[in-house]
């Protein structure tokens, strides 16, 4: 058995993938982190104080983990789901009725709820440890944008089941856009943007119309939210996450006393 492992480890294939031995020496532990695309977002060494659970609460890492869960389960859901008013609701029912071990939608939904909570708690921890202070000001800002993106991801996903809960939650949520100052047709200042009695801002072109691709939550909104939910927002979030993790490393790893 030992010989077999030895043979595998010394084979050309193995050595082409892993450029270091088993990570039990300082040299190999360093190489394990540095030569791995994903692990190298971590610094090689971290503060002993920083990695205690009572300090970090693990919330940032969990948020990232939940994002990965969402990506995976979301991908599987996309196989079964068509974002049209005709099929969306039926497809969600079919997921429950016809797909064996159909817990993907459950996992997707519960992980999404959990992700909102973990991202809030992550921000809470970072604030309470003063980890937004120099030199981490910029990364806090990236984090705030990621928090908003998490909420937007959750919000766009909320519409997709196309049931009463979804449609009316999005209606309530997007009604606010109607009141955007200057850009919503029921917002203050919108009536000032007119020329010769002709209003530039009305129900057919205001901020809410842009959001929903229509005057109410309809098929246009469904497609728009679907594309944002599955492609647009995750891409932006992924790019910002890369920056966020990289900056954690560049700004001195997990925060600790200066």
């Amino acid at each position: 058995m030992g010989k077999l492992f030895q043979a595998i480890r010394s084979s050309q294939i193995w050595r082409s993938i892993f450029r270091h031995g088993y990570p039990d020496t300082p040299r190999n532990r360093t190489l394990a982190v540095l030569s791995n695309t994903f692990l190298h977002l971590h610094p090689v060494k971290v503060r002993r104080s920083g990695i205690r659970l009572s300090y970090t609460w693990c919330m940032g890492g969990l948020t990232f983990f939940l994002f990965l869960v969402e990506t995976l389960t979301g991908l599987l859901l996309m196989f079964y789901y068509r974002p049209t008013a005709e099929y969306a609701y039926q497809d969600i029912w079919a997921l429950r009725e016809h797909v064996p071990i159909g817990i993907m939608r459950e996992m997707h939904r519960w992980a999404a709820h959990l992700m909102v909570i973990t991202v809030w708690l992550h921000m809470y921890r970072v604030f309470l440890t003063g980890s937004y202070k120099p030199p981490r000001e910029f990364n806090w800002n990236v984090g705030v944008i990621l928090l908003v993106l998490t909420l937007l991801l959750s919000f766009t996903g909320y519409l997709l089941p196309w049931d009463q809960l979804a449609v009316w939650a999005i209606t309530v949520g997007s009604n606010m856009a109607r009141a955007t100052p200057f850009l919503g047709h029921e917002g203050p200042g919108a009536s000032l943007l007119s020329f010769g009695g002709l209003n530039f801002i009305h129900a057919g072109d205001d901020a809410r119309f842009g959001l929903l691709a229509g005057r109410f939550v309809g098929e246009g909104a469904l497609l728009r939210f679907y594309v944002l939910h599955c492609v647009g927002l995750p891409l932006i979030a992924a790019a910002l996450m890369a920056i966020h993790f990289w900056r954690v490393r560049k700004d001195g790893g997990i925060s600790g006393p200066l």
């Binding site: 817990i103 459950e106 709820h113 980890s131 000001e137 909420l151 606010m176």
Partner: protein, 360 residues
């Protein structure tokens, strides 16, 4: 006995008592943090909370709200926020004690030592990953994701609620028009959060838990996050029923519950009640007292405070930082002020110009 407790809880959970009570609890916990950071306190809380959650669903009205699948996260939110607040407070208290004795913080003492990411950090991450995968699978098997009737734009459910994480904003709609509650205040929340590192010039408390070295920052964030965000989410989820009326946790969601709306504009108070005149025709003249009040609040108050009470702060922060900070703080303060004015004077709007959708 059970009914008496239920009635007492329902009585306690009316908007004013709920909000003022939460604020008081936060203040008490902050002031007596040494006591509240003990192990026994959090243990008592969790025992009490578990006992309550086991007993309360015997009430059909309570059960109806609590067993909605989408409300499970709110229970997680309540328990985790309370637990982690306690945990942070405990470490803050310990570090403050150590600072008084001239010792470095726990983080400071351990921080000098550095360990390898592999295995120390990677293992923690891996265990968390496995644990949470298991939790998610169990949760997904046990509770089915909700699916209601198919979308029908002609049939409005009552109440229509936004997703739970936006219920804080929906709750603000009780006090403000959508342009403030739904657009201006959320924008200022985001801008304000992003401005925090540039406004907080206190170099202390960077990378370790402490309360005494930054009491204002902690209190500020507590009130923003716990009082005006998390507690509003809880309120919106559990205590707002049909017509957005307020219901106690054990109250039946009666669709016909009427809450008399007798809210009055500031202009009416000023012209009709105080001066005994009819409301002026001209909107600007009519709303002049409210406009003066709001302009004074935003543009006279900051320099006045900067010259007097907050002089030290201006010197410490610089005039530019101070003004940005004051504007953000005053927008934040507008919410409790409006709530208070609503409760005490039944005030509808400080400035009410519905002709231009400009109501404050």
């Amino acid at each position: 006995m059970g009914e008496l407790i239920k009635d007492a809880i329902d009585w306690l959970f009316d908007p004013i008592r709920y909000f003022v009570g939460s604020a008081l609890i936060l203040g008490v916990v902050f002031y007596w943090r040494k006591f509240f950071s003990r192990n026994i306190v959090i243990a008592t809380f969790f025992v009490g909370f578990t006992a309550f959650m086991l007993w309360a669903p015997s009430d059909p009205d309570f059960k109806k709200i609590i067993t909605k699948p989408d409300n499970v996260p709110i229970i997680i939110l309540i328990t985790t926020v309370i637990f982690f607040t306690w945990l942070a407070m405990r470490q803050g208290v310990i570090n403050d004690e150590r600072a008084k004795e001239g010792k470095p913080s726990i983080e400071g003492e351990l921080g000098k030592k550095k360990v390898f990411t592999w295995p120390d950090l990677v293992y923690t991450e891996f265990i968390c990953l496995v644990l949470f995968t298991a939790v998610l699978i169990a949760w997904s098997i046990l509770i089915e994701a909700p699916i209601e009737e198919p979308a029908a734009t002609a049939r409005t459910p009552n109440p229509s609620k936004a997703p739970w994480y936006f219920l804080g904003l929906q709750e603000m709609l009780v006090y403000f028009d959508p342009w403030i509650a739904g657009v201006v205040l959320p924008s200022f929340i985001i801008v304000g959060l992003m401005a925090i590192p540039y406004l907080d010039t206190n170099p202390k408390g960077n990378g370790y838990y402490t309360i005494e070295q930054r009491p204002f920052a902690i209190l500020f964030f507590w009130s923003g996050f716990i009082l005006f965000w998390v507690s509003f989410v809880i309120l919106g989820t559990f205590l707002r029923g049909p017509n957005w009326s307020f219901f106690g946790p054990f109250e039946y969601w009666d669709i016909h519950k009427l809450e008399p709306l007798v809210n009055v504009n500031l202009s009416t108070y000023f012209w009709v009640d105080a001066l005994g005149k009819p409301l002026p025709e001209n909107a600007l003249l009519r709303e002049a007292p409210g406009i003066a009040l709001i302009l004074g609040y935003f543009f006279v108050l900051p320099p006045l405070l900067g010259k007097t009470m907050l002089r030290g702060l201006v010197e410490k922060m610089g005039i530019a930082r101070f003004n940005v900070f004051m504007q953000l703080l005053l927008w934040f303060g507008l919410l409790p002020l409006k709530m208070l004015a609503r409760w005490v004077f039944n005030l509808k709007y400080f400035i009410g110009i519905p002709e231009w959708f400009f109501n404050v």
